[in-house]
């Protein structure tokens, strides 16, 4: 079958570059629009972000069911140092690209009333942020990745710092410094890897070829892992998150929860696991322990909140814990669950923040005690809020269920398939992989119940009961504009809930290859037998 000239042109068309840099082009265009013409600015911003979304739909159509990277673009950038402009996607990054282009127009649309001053700068910041996020997701060169990774910080800093709440300066500075500290140490790690390649190259494919010793891996994983763990955020590196979320404007929270946090988990999957498999094995137990602590701690702290936005923020800590747990379980189900849950968390937590934004725009307070009985006044909003709440809890039929179910199945599968050695001394037995993972999986499952407790109690206090505050009697239900950005989220919640295979099919290949390729080395490093063997060898050496 001979391809038509048009198809050939299409095949070589730099689609990923187009998607990535469309928002920046839009931002430059916006510089020319006078700042007083707010309607034009909002319209252009929304239009550009929609065009980027449509372009990413073409990516979806071009995305083939193969292993390895697709739509690869490779150009020299700084050839004397081996730093290249290399883009490409696979099943791991592809859906996150879609999520980013999907969330951005929604975030812009949600800000029409919430952002009233300096609309031009706001729109430009959001568009720049979109490019940085997309760039980080499609980069296949470590330096290029780092460039985009760092570039994400500045627009987000401005989004929180300029359009945030009362404590915005504190929150945004904390956000920036926390993430920056993680990133610079990652930069040191990038440098180390880069200088180990010969000839010098920062291309991901070349860096993968470096034979790293165990000690090197442990240190490098620490450097990369810290940056990613702060971004996730993994307990105990999460303290910037509640502040940032609470102070950010709705659109900022939506992007932060929707996409930015995923950069951390994406980083683990894309870079940390393939580059440092042995270290991943060694750190598996502590990382999973932190994830489980995060699940429980996030849930309990969320339950104690009186501010509904803070509650959602802490629920993020809890949910991201599941994703990390699923990744480190390293079964196919666990990783697919983690990747699906990245999308789900983006959608449901994004939608939760949108709902909180809707409430805040009406009453200008986020105290749960100020509300109550809203279901009678705003039935449509109550329905949507309920669906989103269910999705966040992970009720069957919603997207959250599929993701959490896969993660927990994957973790239990890992736990129950590993070797149970009853001959061990009781101390070693308790610390054996089998017992530890079983405990983690069990606690995480209990965490699901806690999730239902804090979400439903919040929902009850806001929506049901008597209307105590007379101000709530006159609340308006959702406007068409609000429906316009909430309904797509709700549709996705059900679509993924009922037909998760549409998305899972896109990742099967990559995940299968990923697990087949990296699991053996990781398992070898974390299973006690190899530890015993190593100690035996050491004893022989000592003699």
């Amino acid at each position: 079958m001979s391809a038509s000239p048009f198809a050939e042109t299409m095949a070589s068309f730099p689609l990923l570059s187009l998607v990535t840099f469309l928002p920046v082009a839009g931002a430059l265009l916006l510089l020319l629009v006078p700042g007083t013409n707010e309607r034009a600015i909002r319209g252009t911003g929304l239009f550009i972000s929609l065009v980027a979304f449509i372009a990413s739909v073409f990516v979806w159509r071009r995305f083939a069911d193969v292993t390895g990277f697709q739509l690869v673009e490779r150009h020299a950038w700084i050839p004397s140092l081996g730093i290249g402009y290399t883009l490409g996607i696979d099943g791991i990054s592809f859906l996150l690209v879609m999520l980013t282009t999907f969330i951005t127009p929604i975030a812009l649309l949600s800000s029409t009333h919430a952002i009233e001053h300096r609309v031009k700068e706001f729109t430009i910041s959001v568009l720049l942020l979109e490019t940085a996020m997309l760039g980080a997701l499609v980069s296949l060169d470590l330096v290029l990745f780092y460039v985009f990774w760092e570039a994400m910080l500045i627009p987000m800093y401005l989004l929180i710092g300029v359009w945030g709440g009362k404590e915005r300066i504190y929150a945004t500075t904390k956000f920036f410094l926390y993430t920056m500290l993680g990133s610079v140490l990652m930069l040191v790690g990038v440098l180390y890897l880069y200088l180990r390649t010969n000839p010098a190259s920062a291309a991901f494919a070349d860096v993968l070829e470096i034979p790293l010793t165990r000690t090197e891996q442990l240190w490098l994983f620490a450097a990369f892992g810290l940056a990613f763990a702060i971004k996730v955020p993994l307990f105990p590196f999460h303290t910037w998150l509640p502040d940032a979320h609470t102070e950010a404007p709705t659109a900022g929270s939506v992007i932060l929860a929707g996409v930015l946090l995923k950069m951390g988990t994406y980083g683990f999957l894309r870079f940390a696991f393939p580059l440092f498999p042995e270290a991943v094995g060694v750190y598996s137990v502590p990382m999973m322990a932190l994830a489980v602590i995060g699940i429980i701690y996030g849930a309990m702290t969320a339950y104690a909140q009186t501010d509904v936005k803070k509650l959602v923020a802490y629920s993020s800590v809890s949910h991201m814990g599941y994703i990390v747990l699923g990744m480190f379980a390293l079964t196919k189900a666990g990783i697919e669950g983690a990747m699906l849950q990245m999308l789900n968390h983006g959608i449901s937590t994004g939608a939760l923040f949108l709902c909180v934004g809707v409430l805040y725009e009406r009453r200008h307070t986020r105290e749960i005690s100020e509300y109550g009985g809203l279901a009678k006044v705003v039935p449509v909003f109550a329905t949507i809020f309920m669906i989103v709440t269910f999705s966040s809890i992970g009720l069957p039929g919603t997207n959250g269920f599929v993701g959490e179910f896969l993660i927990l199945t994957g973790t239990f599968e890992e736990a129950l398939s590993s070797h149970l050695d009853a001959t061990l001394a009781w101390k070693d037995f308790l610390l054996s992989w089998r017992v530890v993972t079983t405990v983690f999986a069990t606690i995480a499952t209990l965490g699901v119940v806690l999730g239902a407790v804090y979400m439903l109690s919040m929902f009850r206090r806001v929506m049901f009961g008597e209307i105590k505050n007379p101000k709530n009697l006159t609340l308006k239900d959702l406007s068409p504009r609000e429906l316009l950005y909430l309904v797509p989220m709700v549709v996705l919640i059900f679509l993924i809930g009922f037909f998760p295979n549409v998305l899972l099919n896109k990742m099967h290949r990559s995940v299968d290859a990923f697990v087949d390729h990296y699991r053996p080395a990781i398992v070898k490093a974390r299973s006690p037998e190899t530890v015993a063997a190593r100690e035996g060898a050491r004893a022989v050496e000592a003699r």
């Binding site: 700042g35 950038w77 700084i78 050839p79 004397s80 140092l81 300096r118 700068e121 330096v143 780092y146 460039v147 985009f148 760092e150 570039a151 910080l153 500045i154 800093y157 401005l158 710092g161 300029v162 915005r168 300066i169 500075t173 920036f176 410094l177 920056m180 500290l181 610079v184 140490l185 930069l187 040191v188 440098l191 180390y192 880069y194 200088l195």
Partner: protein, 478 residues
């Protein structure tokens, strides 16, 4: 005389300005500044077409890519700083505009001569030709801005003279041992205690000029007191020349004893990074804050040099070259805001600017605020602006020779630096404006800022040409 073609042109230009000053009417003195900018730009352009390779004065002076790199840097910095201060000088010292331009030209002449010196006497003469006009320029505002300018000039002068004395003392020891003033003669010296002392004195003398801790005390006072357009020049161009002098004396001349002086540079780099970054945090005065940030930047500069490799020198050159538009740009923005606000009778004055000067800059002038933000991000080493690559490259150079701890220190302190840079950015973008008035920036100053901004952004996106040039220059240093 072929390698000195540009320098001769500059000397002739300076002479022209000096003579023209005698014959221009007081109300036309502005022409002298414009003429000087034109001379510098012309020579900068000519540097791309003239062949300046070869040697002069029987090998005391050597041309080539190494010298050319610094010549272009000095010419560009001089032109931009003069351009940025054109209106300011015309307003404040209408009768002394010729003098001002002449001093800048002379200083630039010293800078263009210095890197090619292969003879220590030649080196010192060029070094002083660069330095002496700076003392004069620092005190230029002594009549009208009160004690600050006089203090600035005096501090610069006393410290500068002392550092020259120290440098000369160190050189006299080295020359005394070698019996020649030629670099080639020094290179073969065996290590002796006396040579060690000489080298340490040289490091100290040049450290003063560079503003490297612990020789940095003059930097904040001078930056605070001197007129801002001059500080924009002082904060970048002499640093590049100081770097050139360090490379010429140590990496070229005394390279056999690198085991002795490299550890000293490493220590100074670490100390400078710490002192600059940590002392910048509590500064309320914006010029002092930027002065300490400049000290910290010298720490990164030394880091590349401390690697001791040709590649390290190349990456340091890249650093110095990106530092010029970045820091010049930052001070020009400070100057633009200062100038616009100085019409206000309640204004606190040039030397007393606090960070709150920039409150609401984004609303008073979005373009100026954007330029300010990008310069600050470049100083902080954030991607898509030049500073990111500069920092990355010196990290690379240092890491390659096993200075991992220094890289980690630099990386962590970069986060600290970000804190105070963000303080300035926050004032510009987040705080409400103190004055509701807009900001009028004169065309010459605006043009200079735009050129700096373009350089910072272009290098940030496409660092390759500059990097290649820096590498070529470094390879030609020896």
């Amino acid at each position: 005389m072929r390698p000195l073609a540009l320098d001769l042109g500059l000397a002739a230009g300076a002479g022209l300005v000096l003579v023209a000053d005698l014959f221009t009417a007081p109300q036309q003195k502005r022409l002298l500044g414009q003429l000087s900018v034109a001379i510098l730009v012309l020579l900068f352009v000519a540097s791309f077409f003239l062949d300046t390779t070869g040697a002069a004065f029987s090998g005391a002076y050597v041309g080539g890519p190494w010298v050319l790199f610094f010549k272009r840097a000095a010419l560009a910095a001089g032109a931009l700083a003069l351009l940025g201060g054109l209106e300011h000088v015309a307003e404040r010292w209408p009768h002394r505009q010729g003098e001002y331009a002449l001093m800048v030209l002379s200083s630039v002449l010293g800078m263009t001569l210095l890197p090619g010196a292969r003879d220590l006497i030649f080196l010192i003469v060029a070094f002083e030709l660069m330095g002496v006009p700076l003392y004069v320029l620092a005190t230029f505002g002594k009549d009208d801005s009160g004690r600050h300018s006089a203090e600035a000039g005096l501090k610069l002068y006393v410290v500068g003279a002392a550092s020259t004395a120290i440098t000369l003392f160190g050189l006299s020891l080295v020359v005394g041992l070698a019996g020649t003033t030629r670099l080639a003669g020094i290179a073969t010296l065996p290590l002796s205690p006396l040579l060690g002392v000489g080298m340490m004195l040289l490091v100290a003398g040049m450290g003063f000029k560079l503003g490297v801790a612990p020789f940095h005390m003059w930097v904040p006072d001078t930056y605070q007191g001197a007129s801002t357009p001059f500080v924009s020049f002082l904060s970048v161009a002499p640093k590049a020349s100081g770097l050139a002098a360090l490379v010429v004396v140590f990496s070229v001349g005394l390279s056999a004893h690198r085991a002795t002086w490299l550890p000293v540079l490493v220590t100074l780099s670490a100390l400078t990074l710490l002192v600059g970054n940590l002392l910048a945090i509590p500064q309320p005065n914006v010029k002092r804050l930027l002065a300490f940030s400049g000290v910290a930047q010298m720490g990164y500069l030394l880091m590349g040099l401390a690697a001791g490799t040709t590649e390290g020198i190349g990456m340091t050159l890249f650093y110095a070259a990106t530092y010029i538009p970045t820091n010049l740009g930052v001070f020009l923005v400070v100057h633009a805001v200062t100038r616009a606000d100085s019409v206000d009778p309640k204004d606190e004055g040039d030397a007393e600017r606090t960070v709150s000067t920039f409150d609401g800059l984004a609303r008073r002038s979005p373009w100026l605020a954007m330029a300010f933000l990008l310069f600050l991000l470049s100083l902080a080493g954030i991607p898509f602006v030049a500073g990111f690559w500069a920092q990355l490259y010196v990290f690379m150079a240092a890491w390659k020779v096993g200075l991992g701890w220094l890289v980690v220190l630099g990386a962590v302190l970069a986060t600290v630096a970000l804190y105070y840079y963000l303080g300035l950015a926050r004032a510009a973008y987040v705080n409400p404006p103190k004055r509701s008035s807009g900001l009028a920036v004169d065309p010459a100053l605006a043009f200079a800022i735009v050129v700096c901004l373009l350089a910072v952004v272009l290098i940030g996106v496409w660092p390759r040409p500059l990097l290649d040039a820096a590498m070529r220059a470094a390879a030609a240093a020896f």
